[in-house]
Structure formats: C-alpha cells, structure tokens
C-alpha cells in the first residue's frame, strides 16, 4: 500500500443522491482497510442548492477536505455543477459528467444564464471530461434512481482498487433490503462502466 491519497469530489444538486454515492465510495475504501475521510456540505444546501462531498482515502488521511487543484476524480451528477467544481481537479485528473441540465428558478426567471455547453467550456480549458447521459441509461433500465449506480460504475475503472469491490458495496446494500433491486443495479453499474469507456474513446478520437 503506497502513501498516495485518492481524492474524489462528488458534486451535484440537492436530492440527486450525491451523499449516497460518496458514502458508498467511502465504505468501499474502508472495506479495503484504508483510512478514509468524507466531508459533506449539508444544512441549507440540501434544498435544491449546490451539494458536494469530498471523499479522501489512502494509508493515512489527515485533512477532511480536498485542496483545490488536487482532486483525482470529479464525479458530476449535473453538468453545470461539473464546471462549477472543475478547478478542484489536479492536472491530468478526470471529470466524469452526467449531461443532465437542471435549470434552477433563478435561471428560468432570466436572472442568470445557464452556460450553453459546460462540457465544451471545460474542454477548452484543458480539462479531461468524459460525459454521457446517465438519465437516458437509467430510464432505459426503468428507474431514474439508478443514476447513482451508473455514475459510480463510470468511475469504477479509475479507482485504485478493482471495480468489483465498489460494485459489491452497492449491490450488498440491496441484497439485504431489496433483493429484487440487485440485478438491475448490477446492470446499471456495468452500463456506467461501458458509458465511461465509450465516452473516453469518443473523447480521445475527437
């Protein structure tokens, strides 16, 4: 085990499952015997506001927050939120972005503008972005709540441990409480991995 710390920033908006995703990642890390810290922004932010969770794991983790410019992976559950936090990434870090656009009332009302293409913006600045429509995949699988599992699947191959261990954390939760959900979550996890893979191929071809 090296001393290297893995920094993952999970972001999105209130109610999207950001906290659960971060929790699952952390559980996978401690199941490995790693030290882990997970910070969240709670309180007012829950009511549809900006939500982030910092997950850090490794042999010994000190600070509970990720220093800007040192995140290895940015998992964005919403595309503009991805751009909001992109500067947290270290050079060479990866942004895994769900392309769903959640337009807040202040934008609807015309007080602010939603960026036309946040992904293009990030790319223009040199950020490595892999983007795909997790909502569409979830709908195809029959349940929008699967977005969470899909996004975790998408980063599974970028973690310092086998994807199967993360999958086990997700599926294990359902095995006890809702066994019927096991299979569809396995599918969602696999679909997330595939989506990330094709997003990667597409990006490097472009």
């Amino acid at each position: 085990m090296s001393d290297v710390i893995t920094n993952i920033l999970v972001c999105g908006t209130g109610g999207q499952g950001v906290m659960t995703a971060a929790e699952i990642l952390s559980q996978a890390a401690i199941a490995r015997g790693l030290d882990c810290k997970k910070s969240e922004v709670a309180g007012m932010a829950q009511r549809g506001g900006v939500v982030t969770s910092h997950v850090r794991f490794g042999k010994r983790v000190w600070s509970p927050v990720i220093t800007p410019g040192t995140a290895d992976i940015l998992v964005a559950f919403e595309v503009a939120e991805g751009s909001r936090w992109a500067d947290m990434l270290r050079p060479g870090g990866v942004a895994m972005v769900n392309t769903i656009r959640l337009v807040p009332p202040v934008v609807s009302a015309g007080l602010f503008k939603y960026p036309d293409d946040p992904v293009a913006q990030m790319r223009a600045a040199g950020v490595t972005v892999y983007d795909f429509d997790a909502g569409a995949i979830a709908r195809e699988l029959g349940d929008l709540r699967l977005i969470n599992t899909i996004m975790l699947g998408a980063i599974a191959d970028y973690l310092p441990f086998p994807a199967g261990e993360l999958e086990e954390q997700i599926v294990g939760r359902f095995r006890e409480k809702k066994p019927a959900m096991v299979e569809v979550n396995q599918k969602a996890f696999a679909a997330g991995r595939d989506a990330a893979e094709s997003a990667k191929t597409k990006t490097s071809a472009a």
Binding site: M44, P105, G110
Partner: protein, 618 residues
C-alpha cells in the same frame, strides 16, 4: 447510524463525528441527554435516541436542554446536552451558574461551531465560553477523537466537579472518518440528595463556592499540561512549529508534513509549559486556531516570544490547506505554488429553494404581492428562504424567535413614510415554541400592531424534520400531547377573533386573510396548517400539468416559486403600442409535483390541469 448502535467492541466503522460522540456518550454510561436541533449538531441526539438505557429528548430550546441535563447530573446520572454555537447563547444563563454549583453525575455539553457558516446567522467561537465560565474545553479533531473525548469528558467532569465543554466544528460533526469503538461502562444513577448549600444559588451560597471554582482552574491547568490529549507530533523542519487544536491540526499536518506540531485536545486551561517547550525548539511558532485568536493572545499575554497567528492567517472561516500553505510559505519567503491549474468557471448561482408544494410558498407568494405595503420580520428556519427568489419577502432575520420582538420594535418606530405600512412577523411552529412565545406575549402586553404568521408545518424543517412539542411526537417517534397553537396564542392574550387558522394551499384565502388582518390595527395571529412535504404527515396526490394551447406565457405561476414549475420557452412579443412583452411558457415536472394546487390558483387562463393518468416512469 444504526451500525454504530449494534457495533461490537473493537469494530472499525465509518462514522460522522456526531455519530461517534453519541457512541462515546452511550459507552460512558450517560442516562440523560437533551438538545434542540441545530446544524451542525443535530445528529448527535438523533443518533443517541437509538441507544437503549438512556433517556433522550428534543427540548423546546437549548436553555431547557441544558436545564434537563443539569437536573440529571444533580440526580447522579451522567448527563449530556448538545447544541450549536448560537444555542449556547440561549442556554448561557443556566450554564454560567451550574459551573459554580458543579456536578454529581458527569455533565458534558457538546457545542458545535459552524466554522465557515454553512447554515447559521453568525460565526462565533464557543471556546470563549470555557474561559468565561472557568470550565475545561476539549477539542476533538476527527471522529475517533470525538468518540474518545466524549467518553473521557464524563470522567473529567466527575473528577473535577465541573461541567465540560466538548467543542466541535462542522468539520468534526459532519465528516465521516474511521472509528474504532469500545465497550459500554455501567454507570448507575445515585438519585438526588438534598443539599441546599450546594444547589440553591443565593448570593451567600454561591459566594461560598466561588473559591473552589478558582482552585479547580489551577488544578485543571496542571492536568492539561500532563494530558495525553495534548502531544507534540514532531518534525524535522524546525523553521516553524505549529500550535493547533480541532480540525486545524489535520489541515496543518496535511499542509506541512515535516513541521513539529503541538496538537492540543485539552485546550482550556491552556497548557503553557508544553507550548514553551515547543517554542524552545523552533524559529517561529504559529498558532493555527479556528476562528478567534484566543490561544494566541493567551500565549502572548503569558510572555511567550516569537508567536504568530492571525497576523498571517485569516480570522474568518476554515483554515484548510489552501489557506494555510500560501500564508506560511509567504511568511517564510518561499515561492507559493499556484493554487489551481484550471480556471474557475463560475456558472449561475444555485441558491437553496423551498421544496415542491412547500406550504410556505403560498404565504410568501401572497406577501410578495402586497410587498409595497408591508414590512416583514422573519425568523430562523426553512421559511427564511422566503427572502430569496422569487418572493423577496423578508426584511430581517436576526436570531431564533426574534421576529416578534423585532416586529414590535418596527411597529413602535414608525416614521412618516412607514406609518401606513403593515408590520408582519413570520415564524415557524418549532421556532415559535423555542423562543417565539415570549415575543408574542410582549406584543400583546405592549399593544403592538403586528400581524403574526405562524407557519405550522408540523416539523423542524430546516434541520431535517425533527419532532417538537407541536408535532405530537417525541424524539423516538413516540406519541405525546400535541400543543394547540390556537389555544396557546389565545392564552398569551390574543383576542380570539383575531386568531385565524388557514390552509396555506388556498391562495385566495391566504391572500384575503393576510390583507384583512393587516388592515386591522391590533395584534392578530394567522396560523397555517399543512405539513412539511418531507414529513411523515404529508401525502402526495395526483400531479398537475400545463396545457400548452391554453398557456399564455404570463409567467404568473413561476412567482409561486415551486421548483416543479420551470420555463420551457421564452418569447418576446411586440405589443401594438410598441412595448415588448416577455412571455414565459411553463411546464410542470410531474415527478416532482405533489398536486398541492397552489399554482392552479395563480393561473388566470386556467391552463394548469390534472395530469391524469398519473405519469410514473416515462
């Protein structure tokens, strides 16, 4: 959370600081625990309520929570109370005196500071209270320490006959980290023994106890010097040595892995000799503390040399690595690496909004429509969101329960310009019971002309839906008597004819009632009655949709503020007179809509209709 309750001794768990404290309190054998919910401290009591052999309650406010814990301690039970920083202001009266009387069963007070202000009306440093009250302060830096110190605090409390403050910050409370738990120790309740000299704080009795308080402080000082909670984590780079406490230690260790760091957990009384020892080994000493330069001043006052602190570091907010590294490097004359390599994109802001169908929206929608003629005094809670878009319907929010008194002040201080404006105070159910009642009594007593809106959504919404005396449920979900707001308000002296109970979903009724009551020059109280959409009392019904052909793009429904309603298309239309009309055609997210009916009332052309058949997953 449940995992911690069932966890076997020695198991390794991922726990938040709050859950870790609960486990520590339970393991210490505490028997009484009380709190009023407040971010970031709320989950401590929620977590404690799951443990057996322990009485846990939501109190109406922190003062009462403190009093309950004091009563427990007097009776020989290990007792605990928890609150957020501003809560200790509320509880301070009882607190400042129990510190003189002392304890029987260990008395531990967890106070959580919202450093960085994620959801509070101010940022204040609770460590001051330790100095003010002459009680020891323990400051954990992560979940493991929070758990251990919670346990130790009871022993300390009993051994030195003093309440103990466990000072927390958001980054302890809400950070999950690995904790190895231990075993519960049994601690019987001795029962109350009458001792008036000790418990009846007449001047003569209290005076007799004061010398003991001062003597105790001296002993605690010696204890802090020797405490294993204070230790030197050495390093070879002797240019700067750091003195830290709480999560600041973690940030320093991360930022400067080679520097010697004095890690203080037992932070008051300050272990001066320890600091002096470190000072002897390094060129400079930097005190890294969140938020006030408390220790820094104490060290300087004690005559220690080469002390730095707030001359290099910010006084506000968290001292995270991105703050520490540039500050210290600049001080040492080293180049500061650029903080980030990617630019900041800064898209639109995304302020928190009320939930779809939140019963508060109708009230703010109505207030917004009479905005020019009302002054609105607000309070702490979800309904503070009425200050935001699209309502902009609050003129003040100061502190918990203050809306009434402030409204009375506004009423009594009318100017020529404001003499015809109605003064409205808006407060929630939990907040009204917490501290609002006294303010209403004062309005009645002093013949104020204020319209009080009690928005009863049968929960403590902002902190996540906790029960209170107005919900008919206790902390554990058990049935209890439910306060009757109408009767309560009447008992405070409000004219029964001026008490109106309304359904906030009926927009015309809401509007008419507020209009009518604000026109009458005496105190009136309007009580709304619809549960929070996140509470167990809420039931969703069939959703609505917008019929495209009928929608004129007037945008009226947007002003209700429901997040389920969004603009799907905007259009600029030039009217015959040359003026441009901005049309906004809307759509309703049927998955979010609960069918509350509020927006329907706002729609002139009746374009909002039932979306049958109910759309599940398209």
């Amino acid at each position: 959370m449940t995992a911690a309750v069932q966890a076997k001794p020695q198991s390794r768990l991922l726990l938040s600081g709050n859950d870790a404290i609960a486990r520590g309190v339970w393991e210490a054998g505490a028997r009484v625990a009380a709190a009023y919910p407040g971010t970031p401290s709320t989950e401590i009591l929620e977590s404690l309520s799951l443990y057996p052999d322990l009485y846990a309650e939501w109190s109406v406010n922190e003062k009462v929570a403190m009093e309950v814990a004091i009563g427990g301690s007097m009776s020989g039970a290990r007792s605990f109370c928890a609150m957020k920083h501003v809560g200790l202001n509320v509880a301070s009266d009882a607190f400042m005196t129990v510190t003189v009387a002392g304890v029987i069963g260990g008395l531990v007070i967890a106070v959580a500071d919202d450093v960085g202000m994620s959801s509070s009306q101010n940022e204040q440093d609770s460590r001051f209270w330790g100095r003010f009250a002459h009680v020891p302060v323990l400051e954990p830096a992560d979940s493991q320490e929070a758990y251990e110190m919670a346990k130790y605090a009871f022993e300390l409390s009993e051994a030195y006959n003093t309440p103990v403050i466990l000072r927390l910050t958001t980054r302890v409370c809400h950070v999950k980290a690995v904790v190895q738990v231990g075993e519960k120790v049994a601690h019987a309740i001795g029962g109350f023994k009458s001792d008036a000299r000790r418990w009846v704080m007449t001047p003569a009795n209290a005076k007799g106890l004061l010398p003991a308080q001062i003597a105790r402080e001296g002993k605690l000082q010696a204890l802090a010097e020797a405490s294993p909670l204070n230790f030197l984590d050495d390093g070879k780079d002797k240019r700067v040595g750091f003195v830290t406490s709480g999560p600041a230690f973690m940030h320093v260790r991360e930022s400067f892995p080679d520097a010697p760091v004095l890690k203080l957990g037992f932070t008051y009384p300050v272990p001066l000799a320890l600091v002096e020892k470190l000072a002897g080994q390094v060129e400079h000493l930097v005190v890294v503390e969140e938020t006030e330069p408390l220790m820094e001043r104490e060290l300087k006052a004690a005559g220690l040399q080469k002390i730095h602190g707030k001359d290099l570091l910010p006084r506000l907010g968290e001292l995270t690595p991105n703050v520490l590294i540039p500050a210290i490097k600049t001080f040492l004359g080293e180049p500061v690496p650029p903080a980030t390599t990617y630019p900041k994109f800064d898209p639109f802001p995304r302020p928190p909004t009320m939930c779809a169908a939140c019963p508060h929206m109708g009230v703010y929608y109505s207030l917004a429509r009479m905005r020019k003629n009302v002054q609105i005094s607000g309070d702490i809670g979800c309904y503070t969101l009425g200050a935001g878009h699209p309502w902009n319907a609050l003129d003040s929010t100061i502190s918990m329960g203050a809306s009434m008194g402030i409204a009375l002040g506004m009423d009594k201080a009318r100017s020529e310009e404001t003499k015809d404006k109605a003064v409205v105070a808006v407060i929630g159910d939990s907040t009204f019971l917490h501290m609002g009642m006294q303010g209403l009594l004062d309005i009645v007593y002093n013949r104020g002309n204020v319209t009080v809106l009690i928005l009863d959504n049968r929960t403590t919404g902002m902190t996540g839906g906790q029960n209170h005396a107005g919900t008919g449920k206790g902390l554990k979900g058990d049935d209890t008597p439910r306060v009757d707001f109408t009767k309560l308000v009447e008992a405070l002296g409000v004219n029964p004819e001026r008490i109106k109970k309304i359904d906030p979903y009926q927009l015309p009724v809401v509007f008419k009632t507020i209009k009518q009551e604000t026109a009458i020059p005496e105190v009136s109280v309007i009580i709304t009655d619809r549960p929070c959409v996140l509470s167990e009392f809420y039931s969703k019904i069939e959703p609505y949709k917008v019929v495209d052909e009928d929608c004129t793009g007037c945008g009226n429904c947007i002003n209700v503020g429901c997040p389920a309603i969004t603009v799907k298309r905007s259009e600029s239309k030039v009217r015959p007179d040359g003026k441009v009309n901005e049309l906004k055609f809307t759509t309703i997210d049927t998955a979010m809509c609960t069918g509350c009916n509020m927006c329907v009332e706002s729609c002139g052309p009746k374009a909002i209709v039932k979306a049958k058949p109910a759309v599940a997953a398209e």
